[in-house]
Symmetry: D2
Subunit: 415 residues, 4 copies
């Protein structure tokens, strides 16, 4: 096992760790550890809400989650010799839930998927699913099952939802400007268009006083992916993958967390992955001047690993950029097309006896693939969603005899 | 070999075939053939432009293509006993270029990828690439190479870009209404937001006179995918796949064409696949009442085949929904996110010596995967693009030594 | 389509073709065609028995097959510039059954698998299965089904069973010497230990008279694989694969045939593949002096293609080198271990209702994998056999409820 | 993490654990733990030699290893309700090296591959490689590298080499009888044909006195696979696999160990895997009467998992059953054919600069596939060996320019 450079006691909040992590992006958050190029090291992580969600049958905790504390990140890790313009090469050697422990915190043998309430975060299909729901998953080695989703068992493609380097002060300022401009177009929208800096519950490592206050005022929220990496929620950042992060500040300042036991493309319920705390083992290196060498000006480049679970049979769903409720055509809108593919998959699964909420939770957590199939056939973007048949213990393929409807239980709901 | 129920002489235009096909969607186009459930049969196809593009080093033909004739489809094939509300089960048993022939028509041993000019069709990145370009590909069994893209060789995931059932009169009317409403929001846009019915060059099988005129007036253009299937451009409709099409009219009336030797997800240059004529072998069956049984109200459902070419190593690119030229943030826009992933891939490939146009052509034709990675991390949708490393005869992985830049030739340009 | 350099009229015997092929290995058989390095070309092939087996429900033809005429090969093809010591690089661009034809000859829309009678060829399990049996397969694009094996459908991994270069006179003499020495250890064995040269029914291209008589006297039989390649029966020589053949004579003299629509590892019924005539498209090149450069002194080296059908779920069987009938232990005998794995698979399949003969035919033809798992754990070699579950239309996985036994029909038997 | 039902302190010998394991197969070894059907549990394991091999650059420890102590197994685990005739369903949920530890024992961050000396165990190619050699591997998450094999890095397909149920007294007696009969055919052979019971160093859990003496006299050695499972060395028993073991005694009495970080098919150097101690997590269940239900009379049946590392490009080698040194033909001998495939691979790799010993070690440890390709083409069995190209950091594909020879270091040798 490589050296632990950022350790977490899962019985405590991130704020109460020996060396706390952080929950905003800001270049002034001091490094929690320093590593060398070529070094292998372990980072321990809290689940992204810092442990607000329980292993029970009520979704009230999802409904009431305090998002001002999220995502709770481990780091920053400074890399010796890293300078702006370099590419930071990060190998994900291993990751998983909290080793050797069972307990009440996500990652201690279990995880969860949540549908956030429209009034508190929302999700991809929040118009159809405005309330909070939850499914709890039990881990069996690399496989997961849920009492809230009977009939389903699959191997997780375990990955970190969120890792990134620190932004420079200039880059941070640009983020805040462009996101505030977007919010200003509809400032009262529920859910909001974007999340501006929020002083409440800001954690910035060991910073206190004025330094902390500055981070709280200026620090970017962690929800979106940006030029530093961040909350990609790319399920293929799994074991064996290699990520090339742009370096924007001396030392690179790598931070992250939001580990997922599994996730479908899109993470469509917002908290759609199987969320957990745990550990991640890295190897880091540098490509000096790599951003210019390889023409990298915005997002990281990466190479996925070679141990993703294999699936060969899928029932697949298609969506196009039409609002079918109103028969309104949108122009080449891949978001809408994927939304329709998801709705089509949900409608299909309900014919087997799942509730729409169960189907929605399943599509967030299971290893589905979401593909951009056509984005040139105007006016209709076309997206497709691939649902592996082998994750079900019954046959979900269409046949002349019709779907095998059964009692499929129920997911956790809010009261 | 199964019986040929729709035959094509590749030396002639579709209009001059013994039984012509059609280039609009309309329920009144009479069946060219009738098949039974359980039957296997072959359909021969013209390349989608009906042979307007040549095997040469000029893109003038792409620049000047007459789109009023496109897509040139084979069919309709009536299926005995099919009724509205059924699902038409279509197995794609085999497909390929024109067998046993070499010649001047796409599919006769070769195919092409085109970037359409902004003023005549455009493409996904038409703002960056307003002019016409072309790459010609030679077929070597299941593999393709191009003199316009040296250093690249890959196995095609051969598929039909476009197949579908006929719309009912009511469905057709709804298409026309919603697309005209979209066009009306910006009627002078170049390229247009959508394509309304166009009488010029309408072909409707054996129809003539008033019947033809009605189809010409009302028939939907074939460019987008819609509720009948249509121009999905889903590369995974390959050998061994099974598609479940909604049936909207008695007999189902299956038509299609636009065969592709290969295509990347998104078909980003508009004519981004490797376009060809050829043949496709089907087996059909019916699930009576299948639409209601399986909750299918809009698009087809499908199951991909098991012989897609395998790739295990990718260099992958990420895009988010920010316009980086102007630092403008868009809200959860997967189309923009995928556009940025494509632009990032193009920028990367140019560091190896390809021109941007070559890189764009390559991403349209090669077996890249385009995934919707995150669509909940507001405000930034996150899409990713997976480029298999093995299609190149040089190493495209990032490394400390930087990219191996070389003379990579040039693609066909317009004069 | 590439130029046909060796053509076959499937209505005629190989002996009656315009340019006949051959059925013995000998350096003096004259080239039927000459190709250049870098050339792509097509070779047409007869089914290996030259059409002795019919599409019917009797195995009498298998029982009575005349093996003196087998294998009927296409070629030789001379490659300009090839010299002894080179490696001949052969790309298998494409192959398949007889295009565009249905008819009575294997490859014309159908093929067969045979269990040979012990007294006429035998097979891997001939002690258990001394009689002749047959299954006829229908082709559906890349998939096959058999009326003699209901409940099974799979994608074929189409490949040539047999291709090779001509032996030098010296190499041929060594083959004859070593095989005659083996036969001499038990000359009356049924089936024989090996097959010596046989004058009867020798075909040697256009040779006649004394030249033909010399080939008939000395020519090696085509049954085994040897240093020139030959009858490898390696199912992974599929589309997209590249083989590096040792060159033993000027011009290399490439010959082959014995096309298979599918085959399981081991081809255990002797005629265990799905046998067919058809075509194969090649590209050839040379590595000058390649044998010494790469240390190749005996067999070819090859690289499999990238479009083998994918399977991810298998029921797998194990065998060890013990004769369980007599409880006799053999030393590290992988042949016996694989034999036991096959017998274990057959016993398993019969619990679902197949006859042992059907199960044996299935394991010869279906895409099973046979692996050498342990050959160091004395005294027991351990081999394993992987049977894909998805080729069955019922569930063959072990479960608490026991196997789903049903009437599975019957295969063709001899009278 | 599931409950640990068999724990190991890696700082102590297996004999000195709180509850010791065992190193012989015998029905009278008392259970170390009892589990229920449906239970998930962890078993901790010592490396198979009980820690005799060190992380250094000398192979003297391999040369001098005391094999009387091997394999050191964890267990037996009794399963409630298991009776003879049942199938014990064993899910391998997870396994890996010793968690959270680095240290001097194999599995503490490292493992090794050994070539055993001919006079002390030998290996598959012991005639060519009579001396002892060793390669030490470092673990990087799921990947391994070796200072003794520079230029190589691969993902391990981690698996247990050895697990099985206890034999009944009757079955044990049959084993001893048949193996003694084999030994008697050549009792002085070096290495021996098989290993009879050996009293020296017998460990039988908590047994002492007469009970221990009986096990020592009668207990079967653990080297071969037999009807109880045992030392299969099937690399595909990886995470997510399910094994159905025959039950021969009440409680089934599951035991095992010999964990491998990786292994090639055949484990050709005898100690050819990457050997390690560690943990394995199981879920067990029963199919009552399953042996008869599914026709299982000898070996276990299994289903491999879905997370084996993916490889798509291989350089493959072929062997036939000819002794090429003496030009002697053997009859359909798959062991010899695979031996030749291995020798051909070794000869090939040496042209790149590896020593033959390094190449041999590599083929034992790397994820190569060994296939039985043809076992009916008399007299030559044909086996093939698939070497993934991506495990090398240089190009090993054959090309016109010849192999890229370089200094590839050296493996550990004996003095």
């Amino acid at each position: 096992m490589p050296e632990v450079v950022f350790s977490v006691d899962q019985a405590r909040s991130m704020a109460d760790q020996a060396v706390p992590g952080h929950n905003r992006w800001h270049p002034d958050i001091p490094p929690a550890a320093v590593v060398r190029p070529g070094q292998e090291f372990r980072v321990e992580c809290r689940e992204w809400t810092d442990g607000q969600i329980g292993n029970d049958d009520s979704a009230n905790d999802v409904r009431d989650v305090d998002l001002s504390r999220c995502h709770m990140l481990s780091g920053p890790i400074a890399v010796e010799g890293a300078e702006p313009g370099d590419l930071l090469v990060v190998d994900i050697l291993d990751l998983g839930p909290v080793p050797q422990e069972t307990g009440p915190v996500p990652g201690q043998g279990w995880g969860y998927t949540g549908i956030f309430a429209r009034t508190n975060g929302g999700g991809f299909l929040t118009d159809r699913f405005p309330d909070a729901y939850k499914a709890v998953w039990d881990f069996h080695g690399q496989q997961a099952t849920s009492r809230h989703l009977p009939g389903v068992r699959f191997t997780g493609i375990t990955h970190p939802g969120l890792f990134g380097t620190a932004p420079s002060a200039d880059l941070l300022a640009r983020w805040n400007a462009r996101e505030r401009a977007l919010i200003a177009t509809d400032p009262d929208r529920v859910p909001p268009l974007a999340l501006p800096p929020l002083e409440e519950n800001t954690l910035a490592g060991t910073l206190t006083g004025d330094a902390l206050a500055a981070v709280a005022r200026e620090g970017a929220r962690t929800v979106p992916a940006r030029e530093n990496g961040g909350n990609h929620d790319i399920k293929n950042f799994s074991r064996g993958s290699r990520v090339f992060y742009p370096v924007h500040v001396p030392g690179a300042l790598l931070s992250g967390g939001d580990l997922h036991f599994s996730q479908g493309d899109g993470e469509i319920t917002f908290c759609g992955a199987i969320e957990m705390g745990g550990f991640i083992d890295f190897h880091v290196d540098l490509i000096k001047g790599g951003m210019e060498k390889y023409g990298v000006t915005t997002n990281p480049v990466f190479m996925p690993g070679d141990v993703e679970p294999r699936h060969t049979e899928f029932v697949s769903f298609i969506g196009i950029s039409v609002d079918h409720d109103t028969d309104t055509n949108h122009y080449n809108d891949a978001t809408l097309a994927y939304r329709n593919a998801c709705l089509n998959a949900i409608a299909y699964l309900t014919t087997f006896g799942y509730s729409p909420e169960q189907a929605y939770l399943l599509l967030g957590a299971a290893p589905i693939e979401g593909r951009i199939s056509g984005v040139v056939d105007i006016p209709n973007a076309c997206c497709s969603l691939y649902l592996p048949t082998s994750i079900f213990d019954f046959d979900i393929r269409p046949g002349a005899e019709g779907p095998r409807r059964a009692d499929r239980g129920r997911c956790a709901t809010s009261s």
